[in-house]
């Protein structure tokens, strides 16, 4: 899972889905997610998956990245239903398809909508400490990942992580130890900044959006129709 890569896709992409308003995408994604989960038969799940793929194809070439991301829950779903493949293959198939379409919904949303906008939506329903931590975790991630990459680069240039898996994992542990030490210093610096800048209530994102356009209404209508059809199909 490469948060940095996902972030770049979302921030720098120029596709119809990128152009849609975040709340419209979030609403459409919620409906598609519900449709995917509500499907109870392989055919309904398959129909939902097809609808989700059609939706995701609006992100053009990014579809393949989202599809790759969606393989991860497929892998886990496969693991969970491994024992049922013989006794109830249809059940197993349904679960795997559902894992793929729900994964693709999430992956499409996150690769076409900057984290910031999604967090802003989440922060409306979570306590301040949680949403602030969410925003700051995201910032910290991008500061710390540079550090981790530098350290791994240094390890490589300085002779490698060592011979054998055991030694390599030990070196990784050491490298993480370094990052953890630095992150503790960073925590201290962030604390100072928050105090002097007057942190008291909560961190907010006040991005302003143009009024919704036809694309936004179209997305929502499409997703709602899919949900309705899947519910009707059973």
């Amino acid at each position: 899972m490469d948060v940095q890569f996902i972030d770049e896709l979302a921030a720098n992409g120029r596709t119809p889905l990128h152009a849609a308003l975040p709340w419209a995408k979030i609403a459409a994604s919620a409906a598609l997610l519900a449709a995917s989960i509500a499907a109870r038969t392989p055919s309904a799940a398959g129909a939902a998956a097809a609808a989700v793929i059609f939706f995701a194809s609006a992100s053009r070439s990014q579809l393949r990245h989202a599809a790759v991301m969606a393989l991860y829950p497929v892998f886990f779903a496969g693991l969970f239903v491994l024992g049922w493949i013989r006794s109830d293959p249809l059940f197993a198939l349904t679960v795997v398809i559902k894992a793929f379409s729900t994964g693709l919904v999430a992956a499409t949303l996150i690769t076409t909508t900057p984290f910031v906008d999604i967090f802003a939506a989440i922060s409306r329903v979570t306590p301040a400490v949680v949403s602030d931590a969410l925003f700051m975790a995201y910032r910290s991630f991008f500061v710390l990942i540079n550090e981790l990459q530098d350290l791994l680069r240094a390890v490589r240039l300085r002779g490698g992580a060592g011979r054998g898996l055991f030694q390599q994992l030990r070196t990784y542990g050491q490298v993480l130890g370094v990052v953890i030490l630095h992150s503790a210093d960073m925590t201290e610096r962030m604390y100072r900044v928050m105090v002097v800048r007057g942190y008291s209530q909560r961190i907010e994102s006040a991005r302003e959006w143009p009024p919704p356009g036809s694309l936004d209404y179209l997305l929502i209508a499409y997703a709602a129709t899919v949900l309705g059809l899947v519910l009707a199909l059973g």
């Binding site: 100072r192 105090v195 800048r197 007057g198 008291s200 994102s205 006040a206």
Partner: protein
């Protein structure tokens, strides 16, 4: 760039007297030499090598540390106890710019403090827009901070510090991590802000070369007694031995003129290239003029 208005008098807005601090690991910092005073309208530089106590001084001014001994006063209050009361009057730019941007987007960050202080929305908008325009970052407003360059991040952080139109701006090593062009740009901005908003500022730095361009009053930290020198940049730079004693080397220009002076040239230490040219031309004229060169 040198709009220096040396002010030795005027309202004192910050003062530190014989400060002593002990960190949890028992490192003691003693800033008990000269008094540290900031007067309204001054541009004050705190110059010192790493570890000389610059950050300790800054942190006390901001109420982030509480002294073991000595007194700190900013706008008449003890910042360690009542920084809240003076927060809107003090803008802050800390050392590591990456840790300083809290807001998820540039605009969220720039307007962080006024929103935290509960200002009305219209005022937040007006101030935010004004400062973004002023610092030339309006086009970055909707951007996500981690895609900005180092120089852009600095400007965003500066905008966030200035958005409340503070009377006092405190900057801890603002040049760290910037390349020479971004540094010159920052120097220009600092002076522009000083002129336009009349803001008083205190800036800590180890980059002696910038001091003439950013300060009309300098405190030099180092040695056993903390604050060892103070004065205008001219006054401070004319004491190379005292500076070297606290591990600060003169800028190349000042060093050149110090050598020339020792060799008997009748020159005073210049702060800028322009001044240096004037000094040298005068010397050369003296040399060719009928009056004998004043060899000492």
């Amino acid at each position: 760039m040198d709009n220096a208005i040396p002010i030795d008098q005027g309202e004192i807005i910050a003062q530190v007297n014989c400060l002593k601090h002990v960190y949890p690991d028992q490192t003691a910092v003693d800033l008990c030499g000269l008094d540290f005073t900031v007067r309204r309208g001054q541009r004050v530089a705190v110059l010192g090598a790493n570890g000389s106590g610059k950050s300790t001084l800054i942190f006390h001014l901001l109420g982030l540390l509480s002294p073991v001994d000595g007194q700190v006063t900013v706008f008449g209050v003890n910042p360690a106890k009542r920084f809240r009361d003076i927060r809107h009057r003090v803008g802050v730019l800390l050392q590591n710019v990456d840790d300083q941007i809290i807001g998820p987007t540039v605009w969220d960050d720039v307007t962080f403090t006024p929103r935290a202080l509960g200002w009305p929305r219209s005022q937040v908008e007006a101030r935010g827009n004004a400062i973004c325009d002023r610092l030339g970052i309006s086009h970055l407003k909707t951007r996500i901070p981690h895609y900005l360059s180092g120089g852009e991040k600095r400007k965003v952080a500066l905008a966030g510090a200035l958005v409340t139109e503070p009377e006092l701006l405190i900057m801890d090593e603002p040049f760290t991590g910037l390349d020479p062009r971004s540094r010159s740009e920052l120097v220009r901005l600092m002076n522009q802000i000083h002129l336009e908003y009349g803001v008083t500022y205190v800036v800590s730095t180890h980059e002696i070369d910038f001091v003439p361009h950013i300060a009309d009053w300098v405190y030099v930290l180092g040695g056993r007694h903390g604050i060892t020198l103070s004065g205008t940049p001219e006054q401070v730079f004319s004491q190379p031995e005292a500076l070297r004693a606290v591990s600060i080397d003169l800028p190349a220009l000042a060093e050149l003129f110090e050598v020339l002076h020792k060799k008997g040239w009748d020159v005073t230490v210049p702060l800028t290239v322009d001044q240096a040219v004037i000094e040298l031309e005068r010397c050369k004229l003296d040399a060719v003029a009928p009056t004998p060169p004043r060899e000492s």
